[in-house]
Amino acid sequence: MSLWLCLRFSQLPLQCLNHSEEQAVVVLSKQRVLRANDCAASLGITEGMGTATVRALAEHEAIILLERDIQAEQRCLQQLCCWAYTITPALYTFREDCLQLEIGGCLKLFNGLDALLGKVASGTGSRGYRTHYGLAATPKAAWLLSFADANTAIDIQQELKVRLAPLPLALLDSFSSTVDSLRKAGLHRFSDILPLPTAALGRRCGKDFTHYLQQLLGEREDLQPDYRPPEAFNDEYWFGYEVKANTELLPAMQLLLQSLCQFLRSTQLQTAEIQWQLIGIDSTLRPVIVRSSNPHSHWESWYQLTCIRIDQLQLAGSVEGIALQCHTLRTGELESMDLFNPHNQREPLNSLLDRLRSRMGLQAVEQVSCRDEHLPEFALHISSDSQAEKDTTDTPCAQRPFWLMPQPQSLRQHGDKLYWHGKLKLVYGPERIEDNWWREAISRDYYIAADNYGQHYWVFCDRLARCWYIHGVFA
């Protein structure tokens, strides 16, 4: 049996623009009040009032008048869809401010209806939307029932016709002329028309109206295309007050990351880069990009990396909201850690790399590898990217030091003695290395030198320039 949950966000036009509860806020559409928040309602402002009336009522109080922003509403509804997609894959947006979720198929997954409704309530509550619920076997009935009182709206044991009975016909605003003529005939509620024969009602009110009623009662199919998750992730969080300290951002970021990772998990995608936008009080945007070397979908590790970045961040002004964006999504790859790893390694190798890089930058962590080159400085390759293959230098190389200096440093020479933090004595060599003749010929005689403490160095004599250099230190 299909079961539809209608989520009606009655204050969406208002709450998508402003979450304030301390100040009176009114959203206007065509100079009439569309929605007013509780604060404004307590001043006596109701829907449908003109602007002049509102101003007169809010004589001494500060009041915010906002123009309706339909695009913002749709954006919010899309974000809510994104979130609701973690509950059920069968859902679509309905009218301008509703979501229809088919939850009959996922009751078992959530351990029953109560647990599912609890999850929905916490999800919408944390986003700060006032939500009305309606539960019924058809989406249209679920929507109508969202106007009923809270108990009837979710009481699916009762018969649908009984539950619909007390609702006014005036709710059907797409059939306003039909409803008007029915009202003139003394029919005000669903209880008045539901017992009437369909054919007779059809003759009087038209085919569309009876179709609607049939869809409402589940006697006619009512098919709608399901919501498709977007290609990229976008979500926002509004504090409703000014945030000045970095640490105050973290709980909200945690929440957004959880919703991102839920989205990633439900779409089976992964990402290697997320972008934060810190929305300032003056609507300035400050981007913060966090990267990871492996695409994954664990919010904990994204949170850790974000914390490292936020720690170092200097907030220029106060922040009013944060947005999380994620544009490059890849299909998920399974990763596994050795369950029987004997070395109590508790996280993937790359997570350390990511933490270090997010604090100190990409260049701060390097890796070394060998190159098949004759000159020592070219045989050592240093890069910030990890290399793919294991070095297999089977040929036992001659005497090579543990440390190589980035640049050979010239040695002080006194008579026939060499000095480097003390007197050096050549103990082994020479080994001649000549290369690079096609560009700038290099010819060196490498020796091993020891100082008074027994420390050994790798020094060479540049045969062309006749100078001595130190190039490495033996371990």
Partner: protein, 243 residues
């Protein structure tokens, strides 16, 4: 027993006076049961001098040497070689120079595991050392703390981070740091090439000197921690300077 006292005794790094009076199942830091065998150093007489017959893992080890000479990495080459099998990172934090990859490869160390970390400040240095120790993804952590002074609490933080892992954690510090106390379980001082002075060793002998003989080097791998395996071959010659 007092609950707080009990908790303190349960800790791995708590010392107790009379070890015979307590059962050995809650081993304290100085009891024999605590001392699982260390990681063999690759040098027999050094192993013999060390309490755990090898490097203590999951603890910090301080190696003090003078700044002019980059501390003797050869001491740890056999350990690095053995730990290379684990496939975890071998982190070099603020190294003085670059480890020469062809040598490491020739010694059987997987160069892909070598991480060079270049912190820009003292805070970053401490932070990255602590991160590397905490992360459990490193088999060895070498950290060149440099000449600056460190508070006991800062070093203690590193020691605590190390106790949570099983990594070989080496902190390189200058010789003058020997004057101050440090929470490391093992403190070594390089007196000269291949000559080690054990300054402090938890549970073992202190103040002894160990000289590592060159005979222990494997002849075919002459690059061991220094050199000439073939000095007897008579190749030594004093080249004419500036020739």
């Amino acid at each position: 027993m007092n609950e707080i006292l009990e908790q303190v005794i349960q800790r791995r790094d708590t010392w107790r006076g009379y070890r015979d009076q307590f059962s050995s199942n809650t081993a304290s830091a100085n009891s024999a049961a605590h001392a699982t065998d260390g990681l063999p150093t690759g040098y027999d007489n050094l192993d013999a001098a060390l309490f755990q017959h090898g490097w203590p893992q999951g603890n910090t080890i301080e190696l003090l040497s003078d700044i002019g000479t980059p501390a003797a990495m050869g001491l740890f080459l056999p350990a690095m070689e053995a730990l290379s099998e684990q496939g975890r990172w071998q982190a070099f934090i603020a190294p003085p120079y670059t480890p020469y990859a062809p040598l490491l490869a020739a010694r059987g160390i997987d160069t892909r595991q070598i991480l060079l970390i270049h912190p820009r400040s003292r805070e970053d240095l401490l932070w990255s050392t602590e991160q590397a120790l905490r992360s459990t993804t490193c088999s060895t952590v070498f950290s060149w703390l440099g000449a600056s002074e460190y508070r006991y609490s800062e070093l203690r933080k590193l020691q605590l981070a190390a106790t949570g892992s099983d990594a070989l954690a080496i902190l390189f510090r200058p010789t003058q740091a020997a004057k101050n106390h440090a929470p490391a379980t093992l403190r070594l001082q390089m007196l000269a090439h291949r000559k080690i002075h054990i300054l402090k060793q938890r549970g073992g002998h202190q103040g002894i000197e160990v000289v590592l003989p060159p005979v222990e080097e494997i002849p075919e791998q002459s690059q061991l921690w220094a050199l000439p395996a073939r000095t007897e071959s008579g190749q030594q010659q004093s080249p004419a300077m500036g020739a």
